[in-house]
């Protein structure tokens, strides 16, 4: 059994190494988010349609998150909603059957798996850096240069630790999302290939001859066992849908906590 972990379809574009599989799924994610968002707000009615009701609920949830961030708190709602929608769509898109792309020879899907864009550390690191810049910028916008005074609190020699916090926060944000999605994909890959790697046709034919007494053809038994074994990752796939939602929520909640920490009055 072969593993392709952290391998990507690298293409050289304008002197830069680009992960093409991540880029394609990233653009598909953005297209889905923009399409459904436009569809939801394009035809606003007093009695909402089903899609509009979903988006209204999302807006309500994140408005209640930013309510206690002071009078300017409403300003931070759009970035939270954008992060949440992007991350959850990106996580869920990995559950689509991208393996079918292997039938097209010009897509080199065998070099790297087409999967969630969030299983590339570059994407999650970019999201985390957006969060870092955003919460520092919103703090500076509200308090001016006085925002940086919090580095020297409570006493001056805590400064390195306070600065370390600004490194650790985006690092853990990026790593948590990346590693959760990657771990789920590895789990699905391992469970999907487990039975096929353990079985051998000789063992099955010996089993049919000795134990079953040859009442069933051994290639039938072998194929049926392979099919049943390929159903093994199904529960994990359902669990991954749950994990996708939880991780998007955790990322967004931590972002809102960092922003409200940056804009809080001391």
């Amino acid at each position: 059994m072969e593993f392709h972990i952290g391998q990507h379809w690298v293409v050289n574009l304008f002197g830069l190494d680009v992960h093409m599989d991540t880029l394609i799924t990233l653009w598909i994610t953005m297209a889905i988010v923009i399409f459904f968002a436009l569809l939801a707000v394009g035809n606003i009615k007093l009695v909402p349609s089903r899609l509009q009701a979903v988006f209204e609920n999302i807006v309500t949830i994140f408005s209640s998150l930013t309510k206690d961030m002071g009078p300017e708190g409403k300003r931070h709602t759009p970035i939270l909603i954008a992060l949440f929608l992007f991350i959850i769509t990106g996580n869920l898109i990995g559950q689509l059957p991208w393996k079918l792309l292997n039938f097209f020879p010009f897509i080199k899907a065998t070099e790297g798996e087409f999967a969630s864009p969030t299983n590339d550390i570059n994407v999650t690191a970019a999201l985390a850096i957006i969060v870092l810049v955003y919460y520092i910028a919103s703090g500076v916008r509200l308090k001016g240069i006085g925002y940086f005074k919090h580095y020297f609190q409570p006493v001056w020699f805590m400064t390195p630790f306070n600065m370390l916090e600004d490194i650790v926060r985006p690092l853990t944000l990026a790593l948590r999302l990346f590693a959760n999605i990657l771990a789920g994909e590895i789990l699905i890959m391992v469970l999907g290939g487990l039975i096929a790697s353990l079985l051998s046709p000789e063992a099955i034919s010996a089993f049919c001859q000795n134990t079953l007494g040859g009442i069933l053809p051994s290639n039938w038994v072998y194929n049926i066992t392979l099919f049943l074994g390929s159903l093994l990752p199904l529960p994990i796939m359902f669990f991954e849908i749950f994990v996708a939602f939880i991780q998007a929520l955790v990322f967004t909640l931590l972002t809102s906590a960092y922003i409200s920490g940056a804009v809080a009055k001391h």
């Binding site: 972990i5 590693a179 959760n180 990657l182 939880i246 929520l249 955790v250």
Partner: protein
């Protein structure tokens, strides 16, 4: 000893010791939520969302150990 053998030993030790702490943490979190729901069954809908978020945060710690295992086994030469 061969270096690849040491690598497998390191992978096993890293994930083995790495999941002990999150396991204890998840156990404590589950214990707490079950106790509070048993005391006040009507708060289940309000507190279970915090449990899910907390469980996601705790689980991430075990996944950091898995990340180290992947780094040892597949990325670092």
């Amino acid at each position: 000893m061969d270096l690849s053998v040491l690598k497998f030993i390191a992978m096993g030790l890293a994930i083995g010791f790495g999941v002990v702490g999150p396991g204890i943490g998840l156990g404590l979190a589950t214990k707490a939520i079950i106790e509070s729901i048993a005391r006040q069954p009507e708060v289940e809908g309000q507190i279970s969302k915090y449990f899910y978020i907390g469980a996601g945060l705790i689980e991430a710690c075990a996944i950091y150990a898995l990340l180290v295992v992947i780094l040892i086994g597949f990325v670092l030469k």
